[in-house]
């Protein structure tokens, strides 16, 4: 019986909440529709900042200029099926690698998880690095070898590499450097103990 009451109470509460949301939405639309586009954008951004939320993705108004193919792609409205994974540039910005070897680990992680490339060549890392608007590596192959020696990468096939488990944990922990360092230390300790067992 109590359960029935609870259910009824919950559904009534839900209905009330839906009504309030609809009312709020209708009021907001009515008020905002009186403003010009720039003012509307400013208000929406301020509301987003006020609630400390980044959920409101507000598109900048298009700059008045002749339309080009790239403009069309920029102005296209997002679909529900759109890919919202971070760009490589955004990913590296968030992870904040300190060294070239760490940058290689982050790129390897991105290829594995966002490009569906668990095995990759040095060229793939270099191309992604360019796409991420990062300074070029002095020698990508050499840096990748250093990353492998440091335990971030492992061999996959004769010509390809893959990110190691330790490398994955390291990148996942970034940008928290203490956690990343701890993850790497623990992975190395585990690796050493396996090697000792083998001996």
């Amino acid at each position: 019986m109590d359960d029935d009451n609870d259910d009824t109470g919950n559904s009534a509460g839900q209905e009330h909440s839906d009504n309030s949301a609809a009312q709020a939405l209708s009021t907001i639309i009515a008020v905002l529709s009186r403003l010009d586009e720039a003012s509307r954008l400013r208000v929406l951004k301020s509301v987003s900042t006020f609630f400390h939320d980044s959920f409101v993705q507000i598109a900048e108004p298009p700059v008045a200029r002749s339309e080009t193919p790239s403009d069309r792609s920029v102005q296209a409205r997002p679909n529900f099926s759109d890919d919202f994974s971070p760009s490589p540039k955004q990913f590296l910005f968030e992870k904040k690698p300190h060294t070239d070897v760490e940058r290689i680990a982050c790129l390897a992680y991105y290829l594995t998880h966002y490009r569906n490339m668990p095995h990759f060549k040095t060229l793939d890392l270099a191309k992604l690095n360019t796409e991420a608007a990062q300074p070029k590596f002095s020698n990508t192959a050499y840096t990748a070898t250093n990353a492998a020696n440091a335990g971030y990468l492992a061999s996959a096939t004769k010509t390809e590499r893959q990110i190691s488990a330790a490398g994955e944990m390291f990148v996942m922990a970034l940008p928290d450097r203490e956690a990343a360092k701890a993850a790497m230390t623990s992975a190395r300790r585990r690796l050493r103990s396996y090697r000792k067992k083998d001996e």
Partner: protein, 334 residues
């Protein structure tokens, strides 16, 4: 019946600049990249156009393997070099194809070069002749690179364009210079650089005067290159400094360079009004930074951000030198 002499209709607001000297080894590419990088640090959005078929600028900033890949792919529909864009004109199969620039950092972009741009350069001689015959195809070929740059400038809200030119007086450099709003002349402190200024002045005179004739011949509705480059200044570079002064055997060339710039560039081009009133002909000075330059090319970063060579003092001096040049460019191009 003359064409749209003010240039491309709806020409983007970006100021187009080339660091040009037909003499090799005067630091065109190094200066171009470092000035552009410093302008981006100062908040300007800069597009680098590698229009040298040697692709040195692209090799400076892009990983070698990636550049090889771009060159291999440049003939394919997904190609991304200047050649990918201009190929339809070379093959007489259409107009230029819009390509996306490579983002080097948050405000610095690159249209990568291609060895096959030299094929387009061969066509440019024909386009130039066809302009004299008042053929639309000729004018379309001449303005193609400019229109590509215009589209990229519009879509990426660019403030400055820097063309990296090859060391020659070829047809590609001719259209680049005629498309630019400003040009800078880099020079080394040696006899050959002083001599080169004389021939450079003659070439510039011939290009600008020929183009002015073509503007008169062009069909009224054609978009044209502006053909009015202004002289931002010359840049003596790679001189050695000892005890705070330029070493004696190079110092004498500094005054010769200045005299030659005045006589062979400013006086020779006087009728085209290339001088910026009140501006000194010297844009700045870039001394020899030793190992920093080579390390900068290896690391793909500006001289003042090199990590593996030089001293902190050298980097600070380089930063200051390029900052002064960039700030002067911003002031003089307003």
């Amino acid at each position: 019946m003359s064409g749209n002499g003010s240039g491309i209709t709806n020409r983007a607001r970006a100021k187009r600049i080339t660091v040009f000297n037909h003499k090799g080894g005067v630091g065109k590419t190094t200066l171009t990249y470092n000035i552009a990088a410093q302008l981006s640090v100062l908040g300007k959005r800069v597009l680098l156009v590698d229009s040298d078929p040697q692709c040195n600028l692209s090799a400076y900033v892009i990983d070698g393997e990636v550049l090889d890949y771009l060159l291999d792919e440049s003939d394919s529909p997904t190609g991304q070099t200047v050649w990918t864009s201009l190929k339809p004109l070379s093959e007489a199969s259409g107009t230029f194809k819009l390509i996306d620039p490579i983002e080097l950092s948050s405000r610095l972009f690159l249209l990568p070069g291609d060895i096959r741009v030299s094929d387009f350069e061969e066509e440019l001689n024909d386009f130039w002749r066809e302009c004299f015959q008042r053929k639309r195809k000729g004018f379309a070929g001449i303005v193609a690179l400019s229109e590509l740059v215009n589209e990229v400038c519009s879509s990426h809200d660019i403030d400055f364009v820097f063309y990296d030119s090859g060391p020659n007086i070829g047809p590609l450099n001719r259209i680049i210079l005629l498309d630019c709003d400003f040009f800078i002349i880099p020079a080394a402190c040696d006899l050959f650089s002083v001599r080169a200024l004389k021939t450079l002045g003659r070439s510039l005179y011939s290009w600008i005067s020929q183009w002015r004739t073509m503007i008169e011949l062009a069909p009224a509705d054609m978009d044209l290159l502006p053909g009015h480059p202004r002289f931002l200044g010359y840049l003596p570079q790679s001189f050695s400094v000892y005890r705070g002064g330029i070493v004696r055997n190079q110092a004498k060339y500094l005054s010769l360079l200045e005299n030659s710039v005045r006589a062979d560039i400013l006086v020779a081009l006087r009728e085209f009004d290339v001088a910026i009133p009140g501006a000194s002909p010297k844009l700045g000075e870039v001394k020899d930074f030793g190992t920093l330059v080579a390390a900068s090319q290896t690391e793909g970063v500006p001289i003042y951000e090199v990590r593996t060579a030089g001293t902190a003092e050298q980097r600070a001096a380089a930063r200051e030198a390029f900052k002064e040049i960039a700030e002067k460019i911003i002031r003089q191009t307003r």
